[in-house]
Amino acid sequence: MSAILHTSKLQAFYGRTKALHGLDFEVREGGITTILGANGAGKTTTLRAVCGMIPTQGDVTFNGQSIAGKATEDIVRLGVAQVPDGRGTFVNLTVEENLRLGAFTRKDKAGVLQDFERVFHLFPVLLQRRHQQAGTLSGGEQQMLAIARALMLRPRLMLLDEPSFGLAPLVVQELFAILRAINRDEGVSMLLVEQNASLALELADHAYLLETGRAVLSGTTEEIKRDESVRRSYLGY
């Protein structure tokens, strides 16, 4: 299997401070890679760096094409959808408008309509709240909206920053089932950042462990799950 996303020596900066110190990782075509790490390890930063939201050095290749230094909107137009840290809701717009924006770059009207059906099927609560201001949704509902908005792009690669954040345990189970289905049925590749390491390791095929902006461990999820330190600090057994 080839890699759909691949970075080499990726560095990222907030002003003068460096937050990523040369990161190499990949997401396989049709695969799910997860990034684990403590708070402040640089997981969110990695997703931002991939999408060109902050200054970077080093190379990022998407689908065989270098995207390092490209504008965020151009990267998105290649089929990279992000569910950002903090959900990125357009709070003053309605739920429906948020979803329409997700499909902003698409030209296939019929397909977009189908996808409205699809996300409303996946998240029925969004259908109920269709004309409501998105800012008035509960945190969990906004999280669903963020995922639905990303799906509306029909992405080839999804970058998910803690999609389970703020969701009830049952809903989290459901969400991960949905993600698994999207990945399996539509072949959407995913880069998943998750606090819930055991769930993430269930879903993903490969995992990286980040510490202060460096990958300290990587491998298939099976290998990672067996690692003593990961078990102690992230899986809790």
Partner: protein, 293 residues
């Protein structure tokens, strides 16, 4: 009673012009949290363009639409060429840039067209329109109609087209907008273009009443500010209501309060601004701005 109705309609007509200009201010404010102090001068310059087009023989409406197109392009160019360079600049630097623009437009207009006032035609018939027992100026009614059309078009554009939606999104949340593939920079530029186009319409409508000269927009811009603040600078609908209210108030006060007359109309606007701001600092329909600690 008849005079009252007449004055109200005349007030609505000028109010519509304030509303358009206020809307132009609100559009740029929503995207950048800046008030474009050069908006009035840009509108004045557009009006001179229309005047020149008619001078070379174009019929009114051809000149009208061509001017709108030119203003749209001009607004986009100004944002892309100048304002964009100051995206990260402190707010006061940007204010100085606006002042610079204002001076450029005013001075260039004076240079090309001289400071002599010029009559500006109206596309509407000379004769007054009589409804029931009340007479209305047909330019007033026409201008009001044009303003309403502009406002409806803008409403439809922002509400129902995906470009309009993208512009609203870009103004509210640029980061998320980029993440759905919106070219935020161009949306800002387009906002400037639309503001300039709407301002151009306002300029062409008002020039018939106040005559065309490089300084014609000074007072009108103040009324537009008052209107925008009155309605709440964050609310397009508020800007429209604000504009109409200011227009009507101005006319009624001018007509019925003897000591005010024509000279103190600006002062009335001042009192209105401060009064509204004291009672409701975020305007009638505006959202209170939450300041960060």
């Amino acid at each position: 009673m008849e005079i009252l109705v007449q004055q109200i309609v005349a007030g609505l007509a000028t109010g519509g012009i304030y509303a358009s200009l206020a809307l132009a201010l609100v559009m740029i404010y929503q995207a950048t949290e800046l008030v474009n102090f050069a908006q009035g001068e840009m509108a004045m310059f557009s009006t001179y363009i229309a005047w020149s087009l008619m001078n070379v023989g174009l019929p009114y409406w051809a000149a009208f639409f061509l001017t709108i197109a030119i203003s749209l392009a001009g607004g986009i160019l100004i944002q892309r060429g100048i304002i964009r360079l100051f995206e990260k600049a402190p707010i006061l630097s940007v204010v100085i840039v606006f002042i610079g623009l204002l001076l450029i437009f005013q001075s260039t207009a004076g240079w090309i067209f001289t400071y002599l006032i010029k009559p500006f035609p109206s596309p509407f018939p000379q004769a007054a329109v009589t409804l029931g027992t009340v007479q209305f100026g047909s330019h007033d009614l026409g201008a009001l109609g044009v303003t309403i059309v502009v406002l409806v078009l803008l409403y439809v554009f922002f509400r129902y087209t995906s470009l309009g939606l993208a512009m609203r999104a870009a103004a509210q949340n640029p980061v998320s907008s980029r993440l759905v593939g919106i070219r935020v920079g161009w949306m800002l530029a387009l906002g400037w273009g639309l503001a300039a186009a709407v301002g151009a319409v306002a300029g062409m409508m008002v020039a018939h009443k106040v005559f065309l000269d490089p300084l014609m927009m000074g007072g009108i811009l103040l009324y537009a500010f008052a209107a925008a603040l009155f309605g709440g600078i964050t609310s397009p609908g508020g800007a429209v209501v604000g504009g109409l209210t200011v227009g009507v108030l101005e006319n009624l006060v001018g007509a019925f309060v003897p000591f005010v007359g024509h000279e103190l109309k600006l002062t009335v606007a001042l009192v209105l601004i401060i009064g509204v701001l004291l009672i409701k600092p975020s305007g009638l329909f505006g959202k209170a701005v939450v300041t960060r600690v």
